[in-house]
Amino acid sequence: MSGDLDRSNEAARPAPLPTLAKACVRGAKHVRDNRPGQDAIASAAADDLVALAVADGHGTSARADVGASLAVQVAIEHLLRFGREVRDVAELRRVQAYASHPLRLHLVRDWIDRVRQHANDDAIDLQIYGSTLLFALATPSYLLLGQLGDGDILLARAGGDLVRPIAADPANFAEETSSLCQPEAWTKLQVRVQPAPRAETLLLLSTDGYGKSYASDAVFEQIAPDYLEMMRADQPADVERQLPEILDAVSAGGSGDDIAFGILYWAAPKEGEAPCASS
C-alpha cells in the first residue's frame, strides 16, 4: 500500500547504520537473594538493518525471565521482517502507520502465542510471564522505536541535545507498569518513526533498573554524554567489554535491580565522505 505519489519526498540518500554495544546483568539484589535475572536483551544486524530489544520481566511474575526472553526474541524477529518489508515505502508517516498497525498487533499476538507454547496451555494466565519491552530498528532511511512499560530510551546528539523520543506513559508509576500480559497490550505499545540520523547520534535503551539507580531523571540523563564519548573513542566491542562491570556497579550502588542496556551509535560522517548504508 505504498501510497506516496511524490517520490521527491524521499530522503535523498541512505543514512549510515549504527554500531552496537549491549549487556545484561543480574541485579545486586537478585544475586544476594539467589534469584534469577529477569531482564533480557537481544540484537541482530542483517540486510542493512540493526535491531535491538530489551525487556524487563516483572518481579512478581513466576516465569518473568521466560516472558522477557520471549519478548526480545519476538521483537527482533518482527523488527527484521518489518525492516525488510517496509524498505521501499517513501514516506515516513506511512512507515509509522505500518508500525502502529500491524507491527504492534502481530508482535504482541506472537508473544502471547509463544508464551502459550512454552506453557503448553492455551488458557495460561499471561501475568505469570509479564514483561515490558523496548526496541529500536535502525535502517538506512528511518529509525523505529517502541516502548511498552517502564524503562528509558534516550537519544543524544553531539553538542548536548538530548531527547526522550517516546513520551512517558502515565500508566508507569512507582512499581506499576504497562505490560505485554495486559488485555489489548498492543494498544499500549508506543511506536515512533523518525528519519535515520545523519549526524553523530547516540541511542540508549535500558530497562528501568538503570534509571531508577539515580536520584532523578536529570541526573540519570548525564550518562548520555559519557557513553557518547566512550563510543566515539573506543571500538564497540571494547565498550561492550566494559559494560557488565559498569552496570554491576550501578545496580549495586543504586536500584539493586537487573539491568538490560543497549547502545546504538551513529558516528559523525567524515569530512568529504558521503554517508552510505554499507559504510
Binding site: M1, S2, G3, D4, L5, D6, R7, S8, N9, E10, A11, A12, H78, R81, F82, E85, V86, E91, L92, R93, R94, V95, Q96, A97, Y98, S100, H101, P102, L103, H106, R109, D110, Y142, V163, P165, D169, P170, A171, E184, T187, K188, Q190, R192, V193, Q194, P195
Partner: protein, 426 residues
C-alpha cells in the same frame, strides 16, 4: 533554541522548546506577539516546493471551523534551510485517539458522541470549501475526554479535492479501497470513507474490516493488507456475508459495543461499509453523520447505576424503555423535549447548542440544565443566550425567560426559542 522568520512580514519567532518530532518534521513551542504558538518545521528532505505551495494555499483559504488547528503564517528557518508554519497551540486537555484506544483516557459516551458530531461538522465545513483532508486517521485528531471538544491537526496536507500535490494518499487502513487500489485520488468521497473508519474506531473500538480474515494474518505482509483493505474488503457485520465476523478473543471490542448503539448508528455504519465500500457516492455524508450524532447525544439516558444508555424515541413509543445494558434494570426516562422531529433527553448534563435552535454557531452551549435554588428536585432549562425566550405553560400562561434565567422542566411546557419551539414531555 531555533529561530523562525515569518513570511512575508519578517517577524522573528523564537522556538523555545521542541514539543515533538515525527517523520515529516518537528513541532516547536514559540512565542509570537506575546503569546505561545506552535511552529511546525519540516525536515529538509520533506520541505518540498509542492508542500510549500500547498501550505500557502491553505493559509490563503483560512480555517473552515474553529476545531481545525490551521496553518496561520508561513515561516522560514533560514539557518536550517527549511520552512514551516505557525498554528495555535493545542491545549493540554486535548488527548489523542491513540490514548483513547489504549484506555489511557475513558471518556463518557456523551463526550464521545459529541466528538463524533464535531468531527462530522468540521469535515462538512472543510468539504464545503471544495477542500479535502486526504489523511483522516487516528494520528490527526485530538479530543477532550470531558466535553468531547475536537481539534484536528496536520492540516498542511489539505488541498483542493482530486489533486495530487504533496503526494499524500492517506494512512494505511484509513484509505478508501479505491485509493488502496490506486484507482482514485483523495477527494471528499475518499475522506468520507476515512471518516467512517475513524468514527467506527471511536464507537466500536476496532476496525470495520478487521475480522476473521485479519486474524489469520500473522506477520506484516503488504499484499495481504492490500487485499483486506483494498481489493477484497468485507465489513465485519455485513448482513449478507458472515465470513469476516469479529473473532472472540481477538476483536472483542466491536462484539461488545456494536449491540449497545441505537439501530440508526448501526445502519449508518452498515451503509458505509457495504454499499459505501464499492460505490463512493453512496457513502454516508457528513451532514447525515452530524444529524445522527446530534440525535444520539440528545438521546443519552443515564441509569441510576451510572451507565449511559441510548434512548431511541421510536423503540420507546412501541415497546417502553429498554433495560440498562450494564445493570439490566429497567431505565427510568428523564423528561424529554421535542423540537420539530428531534427529541432531546433533558438529563442533568444535557446541553443545547446552536443547531438545536436553528443556528449554525455551535461554539458554545445555548442552554444547560439548572436546579431550582430552593427545590433541588425541580430542574430548569437555563437560557445561556443573549435574548429572552418565551415559556407557555399548559394552562396558557406566558412568561419571559430572560438570559441567565431558567424555564421549568415540566410536562406540557412549551418554550419558544425565537426561531423554534420545544415542547416538554415527562
Amino acid at each position: 533554541m531555533r529561530e523562525f522568520v515569518t513570511v512575508p512580514a519578517g517577524d522573528r519567532i523564537a522556538g523555545r522548546k521542541l514539543l515533538g518530532s515525527g517523520g515529516q518534521g518537528e513541532v516547536w513551542l514559540g512565542q509570537a506577539g506575546g503569546r505561545d504558538v506552535a511552529v511546525k518545521v519540516y525536515h529538509q528532505h520533506t520541505a518540498t516546493t509542492a508542500q510549500r505551495a500547498c501550505i500557502e494555499r491553505v493559509i490563503d483559504k483560512g480555517p473552515p471551523a474553529s476545531c481545525f488547528l490551521w496553518p496561520l503564517t508561513l515561516v522560514e528557518d533560514r539557518a536550517a534551510g527549511t520552512y514551516g508554519y505557525v498554528m495555535e497551540l493545542r491545549a493540554q486537555r486535548f488527548r489523542s485517539l491513540e490514548d483513547f484506544m489504549a484506555r489511557r483516557i475513558v471518556p463518557t459516551f456523551r463526550a464521545l458522541m459529541t466528538a463524533a458530531w464535531q468531527l462530522a461538522d468540521g469535515f462538512l465545513r472543510l468539504h464545503s470549501l471544495g477542500l479535502c483532508y486526504r489523511d483522516i486517521s487516528f494520528a490527526n485528531v485530538f479530543f477532550d475526554p470531558v466535553d468531547g471538544d475536537v481539534r484536528i491537526c496536520d492540516n498542511d496536507n489539505v488541498d483542493v479535492t482530486g489533486t495530487t500535490s504533496g503526494g499524500i494518499l492517506g494512512t494505511p487502513r484509513f484509505m478508501a479501497p479505491e485509493v488502496v487500489r490506486r484507482e482514485a485520488l483523495p477527494s471528499a468521497e475518499t475522506d468520507r470513507f476515512s471518516l467512517a473508519v475513524l468514527l467506527f474506531h471511536m464507537l466500536m473500538g476496532g476496525h470495520p474490516l478487521d475480522g476473521e480474515r485479519e486474524a489469520r494474518i500473522r506477520c506484516l505482509d503488504i499484499p495481504a493488507l492490500e487485499k483486506l483493505y483494498g481489493f477484497e474488503p468485507l465489513y465485519i457485520f455485513d448482513p449478507r456475508d458472515a465470513s469476516n465476523r469479529p473473532r472472540k478473543g481477538v476483536h472483542d471490542n466491536p462484539l461488545a459495543f456494536h449491540p449497545l448503539y441505537p439501530l440508526a448508528v448501526r445502519e449508518h455504519f452498515e451503509r458505509s461499509f457495504t454499499e459505501g465500500l464499492h460505490y463512493p457516492t453512496k457513502r454516508v455524508r457528513e451532514s447525515e453523520w452530524r444529524k445522527l450524532f446530534a440525535r444520539v447525544v440528545d438521546g443519552i439516558v443515564p441509569c441510576a447505576c451510572g451507565a449511559e444508555n441510548f434512548y431511541d424515541p421510536d423503540t420507546y413509543t412501541s415497546q417502553g424503555a429498554d433495560a440498562c445494558w450494564a445493570c439490566k434494570r429497567a431505565l427510568s426516562l428523564p423528561p424529554r423535549m421535542r423540537v420539530d422531529d428531534h427529541v432531546i433527553v433533558l438529563s442533568r448534563d444535557a446541553k443545547l447548542r446552536g443547531h438545536h435552535l436553528g443556528s449554525s454557531d455551535d461554539a458554545a452551549p445555548v442552554a444547560d440544565i439548572s436546579q431550582h435554588p430552593t427545590n433541588p428536585g425541580q430542574l430548569g432549562l437555563r437560557n445561556l443566550t443573549a435574548t429572552a425566550w418565551t415559556l407557555t405553560r399548559p394552562d396558557g400562561t406566558v412568561v419571559d425567560v430572560p438570559p441567565g434565567r431558567s424555564a421549568a422542566i415540566a410536562s406540557g411546557n412549551k418554550i419558544n426559542f425565537g426561531t423554534v419551539t420545544g415542547e416538554i414531555r415527562e
